[in-house]
C-alpha cells in the first residue's frame, strides 16, 4: 500500500466515545457532523487489499461503539485529503485532512462527510 487511494476505496471510522454509543447520533438516525471535527486529523482505517467484510470485522474487533465508513471520493469531491499514515500496530491507519495546509475539516466538509457516512455496526 502507498499514498494512492482509489476513489471507491472505503475508509472505516470508529465513532467515540464507546461508553456513550448514541452521543453522535441524531434522532433521524444520521451521524452528526460534530463527530468529524478533530484538530489532530480524522483517523480512519483504509480498506486496502482486504475485502469489506475483513476490514469491517477488524474494526469491530478493535473498537466498541459504532463503526461507519466513507468512500475516498466522498473526501476528494469536497477538497479533503486522505493521507496514508501507517503505524507499527496498524498498517491500514490513515487520516482525513481538510487540505494540504489544514488538518481540521471545514464545517462544509464535516457536514458532507456526515451526510455520506454509511453505518456498518
Amino acid at each position: 500500500m502507498d499514498n494512492t487511494f482509489p476513489a471507491e476505496e472505503k475508509l472505516f471510522r470508529a465513532v467515540y466515545p464507546p461508553e456513550v454509543v448514541e452521543m453522535f447520533w441524531r434522532f433521524d438516525g444520521k451521524v452528526s457532523s460534530a463527530a468529524f471535527a478533530d484538530p489532530r486529523g480524522l483517523s480512519v482505517d483504509r480498506e486496502g487489499e482486504r475485502s469489506f467484510r475483513q476490514a469491517a470485522a477488524s474494526m469491530k474487533e478493535r473498537f466498541d461503539g459504532r463503526i461507519l465508513f466513507l468512500r475516498v471520493k466522498n473526501c476528494t469531491e469536497i477538497g479533503a485529503l486522505v493521507r496514508y499514515l501507517p503505524s507499527p500496530d496498524n498498517p491500514y491507519h490513515s487520516e482525513i485532512h481538510g487540505s494540504e495546509s489544514a488538518v481540521l475539516l471545514s464545517k462544509v466538509q464535516r457536514r458532507h462527510l456526515a451526510d455520506k457516512a454509511v453505518i456498518v455496526s
Partner: protein
C-alpha cells in the same frame, strides 16, 4: 443528440432550450473538452433516479448494505433530554474521542445549560473535539443549521439550505439572539 456551437446556442437559446425540453440532449463542445450537455429537468430526474438504483444494486452486489439507521423517537420533552445529555457531555474525560480531545470545560457546560433553559425551540446537541458544543436544527424545508457554542462571546452559525446553498455567520451566544435566529430559521 444534437451538437451545437456555443455561439449558436447563445444566439438561439430559446430554440435549444425547447429542443432540450422536448427530450433532445444538446451537447455544447468547449475548449479542453469542458463540454456541456443541456437536458430537460425530466431527463435529469430520470438520470438521477437510474443512478440511485445503480448505486443501490452495487451496494447489494458488494455485500455492503447500509444498515437501518438507528432512528429514535424524538423525546416528548427535548429540553429534559438535552439537559440529561449535557450531563453525559460534562462527564467526558480528556481523550474521550480516542485522539486526545480535551474534556468540555465546565464554564461551557454551564453556559449551554443556561441556553437550553432559555431556548424556545430545542436543538439536538453534540460535543466536539474543539472544546465546543454544537446545536443542530432541521426545518421542514430540509434546511439544516449548526450553531457552534465555544468559549467566545460569538457563536458560529452554518446553514445549508435544501438546495445546497451554504451560509456562514456569527451570532451573539445569548438566548435572545439565538432564539431570534432559530425563529427566523423555522419561519
Amino acid at each position: 443528440m444534437i451538437i451545437a456551437k456555443q455561439m449558436d446556442v447563445r444566439s438561439n437559446i430559446k430554440k435549444y432550450f425547447d429542443m432540450a425540453y422536448n427530450g433532445e440532449a444538446v451537447v455544447v463542445p468547449r475548449k479542453e473538452n469542458k463540454n456541456i450537455v443541456i437536458i430537460s429537468e425530466t431527463m435529469y430526474n430520470e438520470m438521477m433516479s437510474r443512478k440511485r438504483v445503480t448505486e443501490y444494486a452495487e451496494r447489494i452486489a458488494s455485500g455492503v448494505m447500509e444498515k437501518a439507521a438507528p432512528k429514535r423517537e424524538r423525546p416528548s420533552d427535548v429540553r429534559s433530554f438535552n439537559l440529561g445529555k449535557l450531563e453525559k457531555i460534562a462527564a467526558l474525560a480528556n481523550g474521550w474521542n480516542g485522539n486526545g480531545a480535551p474534556a468540555i470545560p465546565k464554564e461551557l457546560v454551564e453556559r449551554v445549560r443556561r441556553l437550553l433553559h432559555a431556548l424556545t425551540i430545542q436543538p439536538e446537541i453534540f460535543p466536539t473535539a474543539l472544546c465546543s458544543i454544537q446545536f443542530e436544527y432541521d426545518n421542514t424545508r430540509r434546511d439544516h443549521m449548526e450553531i457552534e457554542i465555544g468559549a467566545g462571546e460569538e457563536a458560529e452559525v452554518f446553514i445549508v439550505r435544501y438546495d445546497g446553498t451554504e451560509y456562514f455567520e456569527s451570532v451573539s451566544a445569548d438566548p435572545d439572539a439565538i432564539n431570534e435566529l432559530v425563529g427566523d430559521f423555522y419561519g
